[in-house]
């Protein structure tokens, strides 16, 4: 699992690469929290899932936890390029209600 980021027009693009399950959730969580803490020049986060080859419901907790932290700073999260399975998981858990998919 790898996390790459890019800042563009005050949008922080987060590219998740690999398979997100319980075994790497702590790594992704810490990585994103440090990133959000240290990078101050963004007003929204775009989670790019195009290279996320796998995600199970562990991803819900990871996303929701980051959402809550950013909510305090009024920074929204948007989702782009989910796989079919990720899409279903986002829909059934209601995550899209709080972090909409954009294209």
């Amino acid at each position: 699992m790898q996390v790459k980021t890019k800042l563009h027009n005050q949008a922080l693009y987060v590219l998740l690469i690999g398979e997100l399950d319980e075994s790497c959730a702590p790594f992704v969580r810490n990585n994103l929290d440090n990133l959000f803490e240290n990078e101050k020049r963004f007003n929204k986060v775009i989670m790019d899932l195009s290279q996320l080859e796998f995600m199970d419901s562990t991803g819900i907790g990871v996303m929701l936890g980051r959402y809550k932290k950013l909510q305090h700073r009024n920074i929204p999260i948007y989702i782009i390029n989910p796989s079919k399975q990720a899409e279903k998981i986002f829909q059934m858990s209601g995550l899209y209600d709080i972090m909409p998919k954009i294209s």
């Binding site: 399950d21 199970d56 419901s57 562990t58 907790g61 929701l64 279903k88 998981i89 059934m92």
Partner: protein, 143 residues
């Protein structure tokens, strides 16, 4: 046609990916779509994660995964000898989790249920849990 394999592995987080890869490999004989493989891998990942996180919270235990093919149907059984669940019905309800502080979503069983055709969860004697899932995989090969 009938075919079956049984695999026993330790409840280590790295074996979640191992179990997903095994089931994907077993599924190849069905000539499945990528979408079907994705659904099945996700369901298996949920069941194995439950064993790693909940069945054996403070130790490493054993997980048994049985994969069976009956014609166009895939049956998956995942068994543990862990702490078990007193109220299975409650555990299966969406968003129910005993570990919210660990950012667990409580959606594992809901995901298994919606990604597979059937899901049955029962007690493994008085130790642990048995999760049975099945999915029909249509043969798309020309006849």
């Amino acid at each position: 046609m009938k075919n079956q394999i049984e695999i026993k592995f330790k409840s280590l987080p790295e074996n979640e990916a191992f179990a997903r890869t095994c089931v994907a490999a077993f599924c190849l004989q069905f000539n499945p779509t990528l979408d079907e493989i994705g659904d099945i891998k996700t369901a298996v990942s949920e069941a194995v994660t439950n064993c790693v996180v909940h069945a054996y919270p403070n130790k490493v235990g054993e997980i048994v995964m049985l994969l069976r093919r009956e014609q166009d149907k895939l049956h998956i059984v995942i068994k543990d000898n862990g702490v078990g669940i007193a109220d299975i019905e409650q555990a299966m309800s969406p968003f129910y989790t005993t570990k919210p502080e660990e950012e667990r979503s409580g959606m594992g069983f809901t995901v298994m249920d919606s990604f597979m055709d059937s899901l049955i969860v029962k007690h493994n004697g008085n130790k642990g849990l048995i999760v049975e899932m099945s999915k029909r995989i249509e043969n798309k090969q020309a006849v």
